[in-house]
Amino acid sequence: MQVNENFEPVIVAFCCNWCSYAGADLSGTNRLNYPTNVKIIRVPCSCRVNPIFILRAFQRGADGVIICGCHPGDCHYTSGNYFTRRRITLLYSMLDFLGIERNRTRLEWVSAAEGAKFAAVMNQFTEDVRKLGPNRRLEDLRCRKQ
């Protein structure tokens, strides 16, 4: 596989307001680096993330999509992340079934205390997506950047 060293992937991270977004803030407070490629969208709970949003991101030019939520059992809304886990497991399985690269999507549990984990996860995910190269299998050619 060709690896373009200069390829800078676009990565969309959906973070739940209570744990993961706070975890992202903590990694900021602790000045823990992760790549600028990662752009965070705040959602109240990981269960707010509609599969449509994920596909939309790929359509519009994202190369990787990651969803972060509270650890199972710690959801601010008691059960939201349990629904997330089922929905996203099935969605990822379907994307895999359609031949979309597995490493373009991820779900991670990051608590408000895990600033270091947040940074580590983002570093790793960016690296994994960078290795995959640009998203070609699930892009909308009309949205391709020239």
Binding site: I88, T89, G99
Partner: protein, 323 residues
């Protein structure tokens, strides 16, 4: 069979139990049958049909019909009763307004498969001891019955009626089908092979919406793909992405609700095996969250609106099969 059905329908119309009958209507050709509502004994006599080609699932029509004045009689094959039950669970059909008569199911025949044998000018098809006698403009042809069985019936999951008011003919059992074989075959391919397979199939999609319109799980008052407010409304599959998007989201919206009736693939004019997407979800749900058959009852929780605190993580997708 057809005669028994017409007879019973006329009785129920006559005694006022129902004021309409939902069944299938004869067309120009023997294989050309359409779902229809009959209001009189005369109409029934003239146009009602039930034969090897009455495949269409009638359940979906009952959403609207059950909301009309009076009770309607519906003839449901085993697979149709699953859809009917699922719609009851979702409060889409008003049960009191439907009188269900369970009738035996298939195997029904697929005209395309007969035509594929090079047989044309078909006038009539008769099943004699599992050999098809086909009357054509050019004489009589024969072929083995099973070679003409429709795809949806070949993988039949159940001959059991899960809901009915009365039965004509005998009730059957849930079958041990091999319906997941093809899904498994795809799972064992490499990612690239799967991608190529689905590109090959989905690129044929002309976005006629037949799959959606026939699907008894796609019953939204207003589909997200038709609603400009949803932000994903599309009229035509103008890009390969939209082919993917439409079918992924459709499969996702019916996940845990699809009874695997097979109508989507049956009606697809491009012969895309759309049912494989739904079966992939069914297979995943069965293996990850426990066996579940949508429509088998009206009380169990749909796997996507339910959870277990020990559910597997999505990483399981990465751990199995081949990349």
């Amino acid at each position: 069979m057809q005669e028994a059905m017409i007879k019973r329908a006329k009785e129920l119309l006559a005694d006022g139990t129902v004021n309409r009958v939902m069944g299938w209507k004869k067309g120009e050709f023997v294989y050309d049958t359409t779902p229809a509502v009959f209001e009189t004994a005369e109409e029934l006599e003239k146009e009602f049909v039930c034969n090897d080609f009455t495949q269409a699932n009638l359940s979906k029509y009952l959403i609207k019909e059950s909301r009309k004045e009076g009770k309607i009689l519906a003839f449901l094959k085993p697979c149709d009763t699953y859809s009917f039950n699922q719609l009851l669970k979702e409060h889409r059909i008003i049960r009191e307004n439907v009188y269900v008569i369970g009738i035996p199911g298939g195997p029904k025949l697929d005209m395309e498969k007969i035509k594929a044998k090079g047989i044309s000018g078909i006038l009539d098809v008769k099943n004699e001891n599992f050999t098809l006698k086909i009357e054509t403009l050019y004489g009589t042809e024969t072929m083995p019955f099973y070679e003409a069985v429709s795809g949806k019936c070949a993988d039949c999951k159940s001959k059991k009626h899960v809901v009915y008011d009365e039965l004509i003919g005998e009730d059957g059992d849930v079958l041990a089908s091999r319906r997941f074989d093809m899904v498994e075959k795809l799972e064992n391919m490499t990612s690239q092979e799967r991608y190529d397979f689905w590109r090959g199939e989905l690129s044929k999609c002309i976005r006629c919406n037949a799959c959606r319109n026939v699907c008894p799980a796609c019953t939204c008052e207003n589909c997200v793909f038709d609603n400009p407010k949803s932000g994903i409304d599309q009229k035509a599959a103008a890009d390969s992405f939209e082919e993917n998007m439409f079918h992924i989201i459709r499969a996702f919206h019916v996940a845990g609700r699809c009874t695997d009736c097979g109508e989507c693939s049956r009606v697809c004019p491009q012969n895309i095996p759309l049912h494989l997407l739904n079966r992939k979800f069914i297979k995943d749900i069965n293996s990850l969250y426990g066996e579940y058959q949508a429509g088998a009852d009206t009380t169990s929780k749909c796997p996507l609106t339910d959870y277990d605190t020990d559910d597997c993580e999505p990483s399981i997708v990465h751990e199995r099969g081949v990349e």
